[in-house]
Amino acid sequence: MKTHPYSKRPDYALWRRAVADVAPGELDPVAEAPFRFGVREKIATAGSCFAQHIGRYLKSSGCNYLVTEPPHSFVSPQAADALNYGLYTARYGNIYTSRQLLQLFERAYGRFTPKESHWREGAGHVIDPFRPQIQPGGFNTARELDFDRERHFEAVRKAFETLDVFVFTLGLTELWRSREDGAAFPLCPGVAGGDYSPARHEFVNLSVDEIVSDMTAFLRGLRAVNPAARVILTVSPVPLVATAEARHVLTSTMYSKSALRVSCDALSRTFSQVAYFPSYEIVAGGYAPTDYFASDRRSVTPEGVAHVMRVFERHFIKRNAAGEALRGALRALGPTRSAPAEDPIAAAMRVMCDEEALALERIGPSSSEEPSAAEPALQNESGKESAAHETLADKPEREADSADPVNERLVD
């Protein structure tokens, strides 16, 4: 029997065995990951909106998800969510393009300072051009933004310098940038702040060469500050919401995803510490037996996300008994179980108010009448019957009772 290069290929290399014959939900386009990470290794994420799914999964699955910009202890969980703390490793919001990622790195290390540093949107409303939707209402002054940015860049540097694995989801090739200094904006000026001006802003659709160049510069920079860092690149399956090119949005989507995919291939072949993970292929390749897009044909269904993360876990996370036990423990300690039964501020409010309420029984206009007999009597907190729905007006003035209980206070 003749032999040839295809005669002994493994199953994953053969369409019928790797795609056509696999059960629904079992399509697994990863042959062999170049590295795996353990549960103690610190994983950071960034990227386009699909990257949020990856971050959420890593957090909920007991991995050591790195957050270097946590909310201050004062900030409530709901407020922290509203201000996008914990959405990613640091509070950078979505990073759609390779140019944005490189720019973030350069800015965090003080190598680039965009001229367009903030956008004023009327009194008391300042937008960060590079994180235009990072918090409701933007910042109240340029000074506040400066304080926050300084803290943010500190967190970004800490992330790059301490992460073990960086998962970056490339989403777009189209971007808008400043004509003056090339600063890349995540959203076109005018969409979520700022004013679009053809004289000051220009459209760019990155080529494969440009993406590879950006990412190469970033990867070299990362290696300089963190030589052991490993990187997993993936391409978001989410199509473009709009294109600025003079063509159909579907055509532009196909270009963007193709260019990003080709760039990832080049980068993973060039850099030994870089792996490619095929999110795009699983969801948008069109070969999975299940349709993983919602009715808007953009949103990825929970089943699609679950499939992606199942494959990710299978190939990139080290599995052993000790690690699984640790992950289980971390899952159990997750934030969903830590909600306090009673909000301490509400308790403090009640206690403060209770004290003052004792006075309600002691005051009233001197001309007030006695409570109407028709009014039902109500119990006050000390169990004593007090008249009528306790209208202060109905109560005769009386001396303070020295036996009044002293409420315990709390705020601490």
Partner: protein
């Protein structure tokens, strides 16, 4: 007679005292003698203040009944109002401060972490959820004009040190006390949330008169109450007068 129904928590006491003083002096509102009734919303017979009905919050049925029976010509609210002090009297280990957008020139505490005002506001909003929902729920229950009173500003540290038991269950480290300017900013942030909901619900907001604000932004000593967070009857009296000015143009013709 012009009948006013006052609803609120602890600050309603000073308001009621002031109102009764005015009534004793024959105070008129809309050309008729003012009569009032004040309800304390933590009265066990009126709690919980809010109940869940059809996935939305409604006032306690008993409270609804009182509002319906009273048929007030106007309602004065002093709901909540201590959230700012509960959140700010002590600083956490990592002290923080923020720039108040409406008065950005105010001092920042040296060495404190500077948080975005949005983080303070959204945290405060969460802690005030019950207060804000109660105001909304009251608005839904009546077509009578409603006035919301601004709670008194904070009192200075010197006063807090005189009344530590008001805030602290046990001994505390005085070095952790927050600064007066910081607490003033927190009070302003709280007031902004009141104003926001009042605007949405078409409820005029009666601000604390300037004469009761010390230059430091603290409550002026002349209107201090018996403790370190409440005001006195003079404050209540003046707030009732402020409310009367706002409510008068909105009074209906059906008064007795």
């Amino acid at each position: 007679m012009t009948k006013i129904l006052g609803l609120g928590h602890s600050h309603i006491v000073a308001i009621a005292k002031g109102c009764y003083e005015l009534q004793d002096e024959g105070f008129q509102l809309g050309g008729a003698l003012l009569v009032s009734r004040f309800l304390y919303l933590y009265d066990p017979e009126l709690t919980p203040t809010l109940t869940e009905e059809s996935a939305s919050s409604r006032l306690n049925p008993r409270l609804r009944g009182i509002i319906e029976d009273e048929e007030p010509d106007g309602i004065i609210l002093s709901v909540g109002g201590n959230e700012h002090i509960a959140l700010s009297v002590l600083q956490p280990k990592e002290r923080f401060d923020f720039i108040l957008g409406s008065e950005p020139e105010l001092d920042l505490e040296p060495g404190a972490v500077i948080l975005p005002e949005a983080a303070i506001r959204e945290t405060m909003r969460e802690k005030m959820a019950s207060t804000l929902t109660t105001i909304e729920a009251i608005r839904k229950e009546t077509s009578a004009p409603i006035i919301c009173l601004e709670p008194p500003p904070p009192l200075p540290n010197s006063r807090i040190m005189q009344h530590p038991q008001e805030f602290f269950r046990k001994s505390f480290d005085p070095r952790r006390l927050s600064g007066d300017v910081f607490r003033y900013k927190m009070w302003r942030t709280q007031s902004a949330l009141y104003r926001e909901i009042c605007m949405r619900e078409d409820i005029p907001f009666a601000a604390v008169p300037a004469e009761f604000m010390a230059p430091s932004g603290m409550l002026a000593e002349v209107v201090w109450g018996a403790d370190a967070s409440h005001a006195n009857a003079l404050f209540g009296r003046r707030m009732i007068q402020a409310a009367a000015e706002l409510i008068e143009p909105r009074l209906g013709d059906g008064r007795q």
